[in-house]
């Protein structure tokens, strides 16, 4: 597996979350009423059902990132600066752009730590969510 260098930018494409997917994720991991019940959600801050904060990251992580980079993971080290800037609504297209901001090599341990910046954007390009995932990888 080719691990990316610092400065690399990767477009992971566009995905969306259905109403059912939003409710299923929330029921399992974030059972707040405004992620589960439409009538509560309509009276709440965002006026419609919105996804649990971590849901859009989890979708791209599980379905795109893990199949591509998961085999080299030794362990996760940190999640930093995860900012929930705008809500994610049902069926809203969200693009994920990755930026590798830091790579620290540990040649004596045949490993490297990589800081993966996940940026999630809505259709007009504005930022919906950002997080930095610091992972220790095995050198291939």
């Amino acid at each position: 597996m080719q691990l990316p260098k610092a400065g690399t930018e990767l477009d992971l494409g566009v995905r969306s979350l259905s109403r059912d997917a939003i409710r299923d994720f929330a029921r399992a991991y974030d059972p707040l009423e405004f992620h589960l019940d439409e009538s509560t959600a309509k009276r709440h801050m965002f006026k419609d059902l919105v996804a649990s904060g971590p849901h859009i990251f989890n979708l791209f992580y599980k379905e795109v990132w893990v199949p591509r980079f998961g085999a080299s993971v030794l362990c996760g080290l940190a999640l930093d600066n995860w900012k929930f800037l705008r809500p994610v609504y049902p069926d809203q297209p969200i693009r994920c752009r990755l930026v590798i901001s830091e790579v620290i090599e540990h040649p004596e341990k045949k490993s490297r730590s990589i800081r993966w910046n996940f940026n999630f954007e809505q259709a007009d390009g504005s930022l919906v969510q950002h997080l930095e995932m610091l992972v220790l990888h095995r050198d291939s």
Copy 2:
């Protein structure tokens, strides 16, 4: 609901994760081999199955925090400084201590933002994991 003041410390008790729970969570949200397969895990860095990083937080969040404070949530704002310091093994008792480090009141909006520090400790008291969850709450 009584929301806590800055400086408050709360002990959320001790929980553990079974092997089955570790595999179920990983299959759904973090399908790396060393969270799923015991023989892979024994050859991996931690020499046994270990829980996905977010799993222990999610357990306390869903089963203890949400029932107690969830009804006042307007929205999540951030997750900061989530450090995975030590692995969490099957059936290992983990204590969760909450510290409220910051409360910012917005009386004109009848809301307040609260920074909830989650500290997870193993039996000898050393820190396994830390994160800060910044949430906007409705004043009761």
